[in-house]
């Protein structure tokens, strides 16, 4: 008997050990080292690796592996928040003086790709340059995010491994902006122009070669400051300009990973149906479709006319028609559950453009009549749009919606080269637009897009009341009170039709299932570092 028992016990034990042995890689899966990842890139790098000089994912995505931030959103967590921020060049950080001073304690023994040591001077140099401090030692040629640092009074480097950001007033969100992919540290000893043709960083990968118009190749940085990272031997970003070819390349295995924000619902359905080994993760892009209405000139300096236009556009139909269901409705901040600050469903439904289409359109007609437009005197507007499919599709949809309330909208196609000068001079009536926001954070969004005088406030909408609210939420330290303020701002913006939000794009991010630890975040701009990614091949 006992022998049988022993035998059974042994068998069970053996089975258990076997199970553990088998299941360990299945559950925990120890990362494997080696291999080269082939990554989709939709166009050649505008301005090379100089992330600070662009506002496009076409630069951030392929340049991120070279560089490092002070802090960054945990690459393995899809949902970003203050709590998922981890140290990168900064080992630790601490808020002092009631969110007025932000102190970073930097890692020691970090070297740049050219062998020079990294110190606090590099940090001060970079962010003084970005905020255009009077004593900055370098100047960016193009500087789209200066406003993020408007509240920074001084940056101090008391010793080689400490940096202090001194603020004019409390601003907890500063850390969120510093954690974005848009906020890398440049080397003080490298001229800023050199980042347009090459890259000296402290990141997990070193640039091996940039073949113009063709590819960017990276090799592993063996001196990377995190031991055991990166797992991959190299990265290859392949520039494929034609969209059909891009996804054909992914589907046929020429690429392992898609480009952030490029995967629409329809494409994902097609690709995964044909190739089940390709996995899709649905993520917020933190990019919204919106309609710019020039608030500085008639007819859209009249809030009634703006609101009428906003009422006429059926948001849910836009999600269906323009995105085949691959988007969600929402106001100025990314909607729940994708974003942290989105309005509640009931608040959203009371905004213009969310009610029953027929009723909303009737209200739009009434408002237009009040403003003096009707069948005898129809409102005629010209929509300026760039010759890019996403803008054209969106514009075609809007024109058709406006037609139903008696607004005759015509399209004026303009070249990319002309758009921003026109927008800056406010020489347009209406325009379809895409707005991408680095981190899901009210400061990053509101100061850039709605603040009076901001260069990227294309509509010229300027409200003293809203400005006060924006400043108030920025320094509010109580999370609940801040959320209430942010909701209030969003409602006000939509009611004023400051920049009517049509929808928020979802990314159907695709990768082959042998690509591990590449987690798309709720913003396309923050997860391109690649140090945790490994290949299960």
């Amino acid at each position: 008997m006992s022998r049988t028992r022993v035998a059974v016990a042994l068998l069970v034990l053996a089975l258990a050990v076997g199970l553990v042995a088998v299941s360990t890689p299945a559950i925990g899966q120890a990362p494997k080292s080696g291999g080269v990842l082939n990554i989709m890139q939709r166009e050649d790098l505008p301005q090379g690796f100089s992330i600070h000089e662009t506002a496009t994912i076409s630069t951030v995505w392929p340049a991120m592996p070279c560089l490092s931030n002070l802090v960054i959103f945990d690459p393995l967590k899809q949902q970003e928040s203050m709590d998922t921020i981890i140290g990168e060049l900064a080992e630790k950080w601490s808020w002092q003086d009631n969110y007025r001073n932000l102190v970073f304690f930097l890692r020691k023994n970090v070297t740049w790709h050219d062998g020079q040591p990294f110190t606090s001077k590099d940090v001060k140099y970079t962010f003084d340059m970005v905020r255009e401090a009077p004593d900055a030692t370098a100047k960016l040629r193009i500087n789209p995010r200066k406003d993020w640092y408007a509240n920074v009074e001084a940056i101090e480097a008391p010793d080689p491994h400490t940096v202090v950001f001194r603020l004019k007033r409390p601003q907890p969100s500063l850390l969120m902006m510093l954690a974005s992919g848009y906020s890398p540290v440049y080397a003080a000893h490298v001229p800023v122009a050199n980042y347009r043709t090459g890259c000296v960083g402290t990141g997990p990968f070193k640039v091996k070669e940039w073949k113009r118009g063709e590819s960017v190749e990276y090799v592993k940085n063996t001196d990377y400051f995190i031991k055991g990272r990166p797992y991959l031997d190299g990265l290859r970003y392949l520039v494929i300009a034609e969209r059909g070819t891009r996804f054909a390349a992914l589907q046929s295995g020429r690429l392992d990973v898609a480009f952030p924000g490029e995967g629409t619902k329809t494409i994902a359905e097609q690709v995964t149906k044909a190739e089940p080994r390709i996995k899709v993760t649905i993520a917020n892009q933190n990019v919204n479709d919106n309609l710019l209405l020039n608030a500085t000139r008639p007819p859209f300096n009249d809030v009634r006319v703006r609101r009428a236009i906003s009422l006429a556009i059926d948001r849910r139909a836009a999600v269906q028609a323009v995105h085949q269901g691959g988007a969600v409705v929402g106001a100025a901040m990314a909607p729940r559950p994708y974003g942290t600050w989105g309005l509640l469903e009931k608040d959203l439904n009371s905004l213009p453009g969310y009610g029953k289409p027929a009723e909303e359109k009737a209200r739009a007609r009434k408002l237009l009549a009040e403003a003096g437009f009707g069948p005898q005197n129809p409102l005629r507007i010209e929509m300026a749009t760039r010759a890019i499919a996403i803008y054209l599709d969106f514009a075609s949809f809007v024109i058709n919606e406006l037609k139903q309330v008696g607004v005759e909208a015509t399209l004026k196609q303009i070249e990319t080269a002309q758009w921003h000068p026109l927008a800056t001079r406010k020489e347009y009536e209406a325009a379809p637009n895409l707005t991408g926001i680095g981190p899901d954070d009210p400061d990053a969004n509101f100061y850039e897009n709605y603040a009076c005088g901001s260069p990227r406030n294309y509509t010229g909408y300027c409200s003293e009341e809203v400005m006060k609210l924006i400043d108030a939420q920025s320094q509010e330290l109580d999370a609940k009170k801040r959320l209430a303020l942010v909701w209030q701002i969003q409602k006000k913006l939509e009611e004023d039709a400051a920049r009517p939000m049509i929808d928020w794009r979802l990314d159907y991010f695709m990768r082959w299932d042998h690509v591990k630890n590449l987690v798309p975040h709720q913003s396309i701009y923050n997860y391109g570092r690649m140090q945790e990614v490994w290949l299960d091949k």
């Binding site: 050649d44 505008p46 301005q47 090379g48 000089e53 662009t54 506002a55 496009t56 076409s58 630069t59 040629r141 193009i142 500087n143 789209p144 122009a193 347009r196 043709t197 073949k211 113009r212 118009g213 063709e214 590819s215 290859r236 392949l238 494929i240 300009a241 034609e242 059909g244 070819t245 054909a248 390349a249 589907q251 046929s252 295995g253 020429r254 690429l255 044909a274 190739e275 070249e415 990319t416 080269a417 002309q418 758009w419 921003h420 000068p421 927008a423 800056t424 260069p455 990227r456």
Partner: protein, 305 residues
Amino acid sequence: MLTLFGMSVVIFLLLRLAPGNIVDILFATGGYVSEADKQAIMKELGLDRPIWRQYVDWLGEIFTGNLGKSYRYDLPAWEVIRPLVPVTVELAILSTIIAVLLGVPTGVVSAVRQDTALDYALRVFSLAGLSMPSFWLGMVIILALVAWAGWIPPVTYVSPTTDFKIHAVQFLLPALAVGYRSSALITRITRSAMLEVLREDYIRTAWAKGQRGQAVIWGHALKNAMLPVITVIGIEFAFLIGGLVVTETVFNLPGVARFLVQAILWRDYPVVQNLVMFIAIVVVLSNLAVDLLYGWLDPRVRYGD
């Protein structure tokens, strides 16, 4: 030479007529424009100088063999252009070979069997190639390949020294698509030239003397019909050097034409100017080659008369 000079003026002026310049595009990637900074960058790039000065400077650069700097890449323009040239030249040569192999026999058979069902079938086949937009054909090929085979040719350029087999596969598909299109022109001209030659007395004589039909057709007649065919081949080759914009885009080959479109959109004047001049020089050279071939094939043409 005079022609090339004229072309340089035309292309230079046309580019500057286009609204916006590189600085607008640079600011577009930043999402805003600052007038003051814009002026500074224009000055840095030399775009603030009068147009005639810019032109004279460029001419000077051409003569010193230094082609100026790419505005976009901040590199010597020649360094940017150089890797593109072999790709396009190889694609053009391959396509031309395929077009000749396909077009000449089709044209001959079509002429010999004039107004038969075979003639009609061949002409419809070849004209169909000329009628399909090349970008559409390329797109359909890629989409069909991935749908049915789950495979497409490599999307980055593989040099023949790295892996000749992959290189060959990568070029063969686009060359077939392009060659099919070009073959239509060659078929057409071969057919009409052959028809004319076949009516000539000496061919009838050869036939009457009992020489075998095939030998007469492929030997005497074809040789005499080759002159106009060579002209068309020359024109077509020159066209292929700059005309494969969409084919290069769809098959993602880093060639001259695809890059040229990007450079035009970016208003990267030095790259565009030099690329267009390169294309123009190829056109002039291939015309010259055709003339020389003419002289060699047809003893009646002698230069210097």
